[in-house]
């Protein structure tokens, strides 16, 4: 599974750094390092809905407060 997080200006201001760090932590905590590939991307053209995150090719809007919920429902549950 590939999870891509936008690190463009808009998403950066909305907290993409915290989203990346939380996801990195959750992935290693659950020992999913070999199943989930975390990547960055520049603007996905959806700045209004930032922080923009793609799981494979599906779009999600995540905020630093909803990372855990997003991880449980859309990353862990799908594996």
């Amino acid at each position: 599974m590939k999870v891509t997080i936008c690190i463009g200006s808009s998403c950066h201001i909305k907290g993409s750094r915290s989203v990346v760090e939380q996801l990195q932590y959750l992935i290693s905590e659950n020992n999913l390092g070999d199943k989930v590939e975390l990547g960055g991307t520049f603007c996905m053209g959806n700045c209004q809905k930032g922080v923009c995150v793609n799981v494979d090719d599906e779009f999600f809007s995540v905020t630093p407060d909803t990372v855990k919920e997003f991880f449980e429902n859309n990353v862990k549950a799908r594996l």
Binding site: I7, G8, S9, G40, F42, C43
Partner: protein, 390 residues
């Protein structure tokens, strides 16, 4: 003609408790390749010394740049300087470095510590000729410039640093030479070198300098072009034109902006690989793109670069951050401040709809201001700047 140029930087600290500096550095550009640099140290400290040194350096630099002889400069100063009521003399020591066509340097010294020349990371003992003008003993040297020559002019506050506290007789010239030789190969700019030297003096004085201390450093270097792309063009159909102009230029290429780098990746037909490494910094991560030397995020990164640039021209307290950090802004700073001498900006005027959100601290006019302010700062650093808008 050669492709050398002079990077000039200086820094002063004031006598403890004084609000003015008794040393003064004046730089006059005669033309594109010739410059007169004067470092003057006025008698005493405070207001009186400041007036003496300002007058001396201004008069000499202006007269020299106008092509007048050193004899005329000296007699003008002797006739002009106000006489100190306490000491009954009018006195300001000076060092003149006259860079001619970026090929030779004339050094004229009167009572300041001897100018140090570091060539190939070693002290170079250059010949001096003694002259007597109006009873003043003045030394003159003419030196052919080589790449990486570093000239260090100082006021006597530098070798006097630490007298009675750290060292019995101050910071000896040989020790200053050794200290600077070690730094000469590191790629620091003249401004950074002078800051490091003066910071060391300040340390030796125990942060309470007993005299004004100034270092002015001139570093002879090769011209280095650099190109920076920032923002997509306002008209989509101009993308290819903007990219081909940008990539056809000689020198390193920097791209700032997510959308901009995506356009460049498409033009180059190479994959754009953003990193997720934040380098312990609040600046967004950089990216990799084959054929481009550095790819960063746009406004936030450039805003940080501007902050560093303003500090560099002012107190230069942040050089330790941008000299060593590995985030996008620090990397741009090292390329622009240290490596580049001629910078071409390619600025796109497209309005990013996502940035026009009132909740966000970035918008179009801020972006345009960033470019203007940054190019003004870089000009003050002595760089040649060209800005093209698309």
């Amino acid at each position: 003609m050669n492709n050398l140029c002079a990077d000039i930087g200086y820094k002063s600290i004031f006598h403890y408790g004084e609000e003015l500096c008794g040393d003064h550095v004046d730089i006059v550009e005669e033309n594109e390749n010739s410059t007169v640099i004067v470092l003057a140290d006025g008698l005493g400290s405070g207001v009186k010394a400041s007036i003496l040194s300002t007058l001396t350096s201004k008069i000499i630099s202006t007269m020299m740049a106008a092509g007048l002889s050193i004899e005329e400069c000296v007699s003008t100063i002797a006739a002009t300087l106000p006489v100190c009521s306490v000491r009954g003399v009018a006195y300001s020591t000076f060092t003149i470095i006259h860079i001619k066509d970026n090929e030779t340097a004339d050094i004229i010294q009167y009572d300041n510590p001897q100018v140090i020349l570091i060539r190939n990371n070693e002290n170079y003992d250059y010949p001096k000729m003694e002259m007597n003008i109006d009873g003043k003993r003045i030394y003159k040297s003419t030196i052919k410039l080589c790449e990486n020559d570093i000239f260090i002019a100082m006021s006597d506050g530098c070798p006097h640093a630490g007298i009675g506290t750290a060292y019995n007789f101050g910071w000896k010239r040989e020790e200053i030479i050794e200290f600077m030789e070690a730094l000469s190969g590191c790629g620091y700019t003249a401004k950074t070198l002078s800051t490091i030297l003066i910071d060391e003096c300040n340390k030796l004085y125990g942060n309470e300098p007993g005299d004004d201390a100034t270092a002015c450093i001139i570093k002879i270097r090769r011209r280095e072009p650099m190109n920076l792309l920032f923002g997509p063009p306002s008209n989509r159909s101009d993308c290819n034109r903007m990219m081909s102009l940008f990539f056809s230029k000689e020198g390193k290429h920097i791209i700032c902006g997510g959308t901009t780098s995506t356009i460049a990746a498409k033009y180059l037909r190479k994959p754009l690989r953003p990193s997720l490494n934040f380098e312990r910094s609040d600046i967004p991560p950089t990216a990799e793109l084959e054929g481009v030397d550095l790819v960063t995020e746009g406004v936030i990164t450039v805003n940080k670069v501007l902050e560093y640039a303003k500090d560099y021209l002012d107190k230069n307290e942040c050089y330790e951050q941008w000299s060593f950090k590995r985030d996008g802004a620090a990397l741009i700073c090292r390329l622009l401040f240290e490596e580049a001498t001629d910078i071409n900006f390619y600025v796109g005027r497209a309005i990013n709809p996502a940035h026009q959100n009132p909740d966000l601290p970035i918008n179009f006019s801020i972006k345009m201001n960033l470019v203007e302010e940054l190019s003004a700062c870089l000009k003050k650093m002595g760089k040649r700047i060209k800005v093209s808008y698309f």
